[in-house]
Symmetry: C2
Subunit: 553 residues, 2 copies
């Protein structure tokens, strides 16, 4: 089989977030340990040392690829271990516990769509589970080959070699892009053309276009263009029965949208190898402000007013006081609404002024000079210009946001429960939902003997008809991994039950995978599941694609 060493640069962690060695440094670890010890009353915060591949005792592969596929398949332990899990709390906890009992038998690294088709042919003929794998940043068990049931084997199909921007249509502001390209490489290839896709999920560095499409990823735009769905012109999807290529169009009313069947299909219908995506001129004008609120409810009312004003800010994120405190965004004395606009075309003073008025109308305070605007001359903003504006509270929050997954891994290593979950709900139901979720999680932590802990909330996205609240839970848990996993599973179940009872969605942008199945099954109409199953039978007759995700095998 082929040998697939690490790419140049840092090597991906096979058990946790990001790159090996890019986590907290010793000083950060010590500071965090002190904080955890004093803030949460955790006694033993001695971190578990990260696992090494040598320590692992992976089971032998159960299947061998045919000769024609050997050049693109590997059974190297590093690759198999790295493709065993996604990046949820459950995953990192099991990784740190050296629990790699059920890795994929093989990792396949197709070079093109033809390779993908050949892999699916082989898997279909042998009944081997085929798990499409983008950046592996799933936090819902969406790439877990070991959870595919009792078939003869499971192959993780990693698309990372399909990493090119193939074509840019400057007049239509669109680009044809391969599915396996990671965020930074995608933007890097668009930059010389003066355009950007500006889809920045938190996982941006370690997730791929195909993964974003398959899971209906949520980007950094807080309003209007929230999901990746909005940027799709057309898609190419390799299914076990052949390739689906939708027509590239700015809009259409010709029957149900074929793209929408594959957006959110989480690898159960096919492998997304390519898409025409809408891109934009790089923004030159920016405007931002931070409003402080005495209550979260007042901040929510302001966010609602902004969302309903038709201003379409790029940022409209509400952080509760605790979230603001632990991310270093503020001293925790107020709830914060981060407002920002961006444009490649026009200065944004009227936009931000009106948004700030909305915030003030609802009791928000924005200091004098609290509105910051900037415009760069010319057509080519300097490298790093995207970041230059992120000073002050918004900048602090953004940095914490990008480091959060590393921090989460460190907390897990110290014996904590540290996880997030997210949803969306209409405004009329939000306040009750917020209270009920907070209570349910707090009570569940107590019931399972975890804690004390903290539960925070922010809005990641807001719509005219409702917010997408995002909850973070950090609590002292059982030191023993299996016991801590059971604790979290109970807390997560309590939270998810509460979402269902209050008319919210089980996920706004984390997808369903395997972990959300129980609640997704209650949320989606039964007859829609029948229709989806029928579509899957048609496209994947052998039922090999990501079994157990979204619908039953």
């Amino acid at each position: 089989m082929g040998s697939m060493g690490a790419a140049t640069g840092g090597r991906r962690s096979f058990w946790g977030w990001g790159l090996e060695g890019a986590g907290l440094d010793p000083a950060e670890q010590d500071a965090l340990a002190a904080l955890v010890s004093s803030g949460l009353g955790v006694g033993d915060v001695e971190p578990v040392p990260p696992p090494t591949v040598d320590e692992l005792d992976l089971p032998d592969p159960r299947v061998r690829p045919p000769a024609s596929l050997r050049p693109i398949c590997t059974d190297e332990p590093y690759e198999r271990a790295g493709h065993t899990y996604g990046k949820s709390f459950r995953d990192v906890l099991r990784g740190l516990a050296r629990d790699f009992r059920r890795p994929p038998d093989l990792v396949a690294l197709p070079r093109d769509a033809a390779d993908v088709a050949a892999l699916l042919d082989w898997c279909g003929a042998e009944g081997i589970a085929a798990v499409p794998y983008g950046g592996g940043s799933s936090v819902v068990g969406g790439v877990e080959a070991g959870a595919c049931g009792d078939g003869p084997g499971a192959v993780s199909i990693d698309l990372r070699r399909l990493d090119r921007v193939l074509e840019v249509d400057a007049s239509s502001r669109a680009a044809r892009i391969e599915g396996g390209v990671y965020g930074p490489a995608l933007e890097g290839q668009l930059r010389p053309h003066g355009v950007t896709m500006r889809h920045f999920p938190q996982s941006f560095e370690f997730s791929t276009l195909g993964g974003w499409l398959a899971t209906r990823s949520g980007g950094h735009y807080a309003t209007l263009h929230t999901h990746i769905d909005d940027f799709v012109e057309s898609m190419t999807v390799v299914t076990p029965r052949g390739t689906v290529e939708t027509r590239r169009l700015p809009g259409s009313g010709a029957g149900p949208s074929p793209d929408r069947l594959f957006l959110g299909s989480e690898g159960i219908l096919g492998v997304i190898t390519e898409a025409w995506m809408r891109v934009q001129d790089r923004p030159r004008h920016r405007a931002s402000a931070v409003a402080r609120f005495a209550t979260f409810e007042a901040g929510a009312a302001a966010a609602r007013a902004v969302a309903q004003a038709g201003l379409h800010p790029s940022n409209c994120r509400l952080l509760d006081a605790t979230e603001a405190l632990i991310t270093g965004t503020s001293d925790g004395s107020a709830h914060l609404l981060l407002l920002a606009f961006e444009s490649a075309d026009h200065p944004l003073d009227p936009w931000i002024r009106r948004a700030v008025e909305c915030a003030r109308d609802h009791g928000g305070t924005v200091g004098d000079g609290g509105i910051r605007t900037s415009s760069e001359p010319g057509d080519a903003p300097a490298e790093g210009a995207d970041h230059a504006h992120h000073e002050g509270a918004a900048g602090a929050w953004r940095n914490a946001f990008l480091r959060a997954p590393y921090m989460r891994d460190a907390l897990i290593g110290m014996g904590l429960i540290s996880e997030t979950f997210e949803t969306a709900v209409t405004w009329d139901r939000f306040e009750r939902l917020h209270a009920a979720v907070t209570t349910a999680v707090t009570d569940a932590l107590k019931d399972v003997g975890a804690g004390p802990g903290i539960v925070t909330c922010r809005f990641t996205h807001v719509y005219p008809d409702g917010p997408a609240p995002y909850f973070t839970v950090i609590a002292a848990g059982a030191r023993e991994p299996a016991a801590r996993l059971a604790q979290w599973d109970a807390v997560k179940a309590a939270a998810s039950d509460t979402l269902m009872a209050h008319g919210a969605t089980i996920t706004h942008h984390h997808a369903v995978g395997r972990d959300h199945r129980r609640w997704y099954d209650r949320q989606r109409p039964d007859l829609f599941a029948d229709a989806l199953r029928a579509a899957k039978r048609e496209l994947d007759p052998a039922g090999i694609l990501n079994p157990g995700v979204l619908i039953d095998p």
Copy 2:
């Protein structure tokens, strides 16, 4: 069976657009005849008198409803004739020719979702075709019961009794609305709540919410929120296997969107009985301008610039000079770009000023004082305020737009071919498409011996990545209806072939129905059709729902 006389107010025309007697008055007829005679060189413009129900010789119904359904079924000739066709050129021509050979056997008027379910049960048991019917404004053969194949019978299921706004959620700006409500009644029921849906397709007066959803209707918003799809929170769909009710959410990433399977399903999967729709505060601020261009290409470049600027105008309609002339919008000496913004929240001066700059950057001329803005005080705009702003060129065009279907009927009555078709395409392909379509239609008119005629183009909607061009064809045709139908069919085929060859969609917002099937079958991926057929088999095992629409029976 039940007796279902006309509603109060005018009676709907059973053969043409709108209300009986609301078409052109004798003076308008004479003026139009003179114009046609001089402008198109048509000799005999003596209008065909409209048909009356008494003249028709409808075949006897082939099926009788069971006793329990008799109160909601009728075989009155007026109802059967009125449900025989939609409102395309083909339909009106056949109506004027008294060709009502294949009406629905019965017209059903369910009172609620339970009635719809009972009707589908009966049709399923007997193999009778069930054709969901909203306002009957289809221009693609979407409601033609006589084209449902050779089953034992066909029932047109008219939802007009499901005509209520059931609930308004003021905080989320959303309303629960029955599927059979017509546009004016919908807005009339929302108005006391201070909200509006602002979805105004050209058919607004004579089409329904359910019809808009089933066909992915295009509204008056020229950018951003173009299709009805964007306003959907959730839907209730009665299928032969039961009811699908999606969860009401502002946004979700939980699997492929169930709503998107039914949006554009054109009655082949179920009957949309209810939906939660996003509504808005009524606009108080308006701004508009008209820019004149020497060439259509320059106007298109300006429309592209506006669409890519992120300004989101409510109007961004480009009319070619001939379209501007025949609609009375201008003297035909220039191509016009109609620009407008509206907001419930803020004055729009910066928005319209920047849009006008974009137009001027591309050679557009906007006279001094050519920007018009208005703001109404208070929260409750006066009745008719929506119209007050429509003076000048934009107002003239709008009035012509709303009268166009009546005008079209009159032209057909005078022996003309008069029809429209529409599409969408990316900007990089637009100029070639525009030239090719114009040539193809002109040549086809000549080939079939029709004409001389005119072919005009406007943009109904524009996206950052491409426009939605809308073509109007008016030409002298054969006096004999069957011959004229054949002429148009040949012209339409030439136009549709050209759309396919140039990467455009067969329809941006007119739907597929039966008339667009041949080209839709080339446009949609084969495997998507397989998946859609599988979904239909699941939801409609007897295959009774609107057979022949979108996919084969």
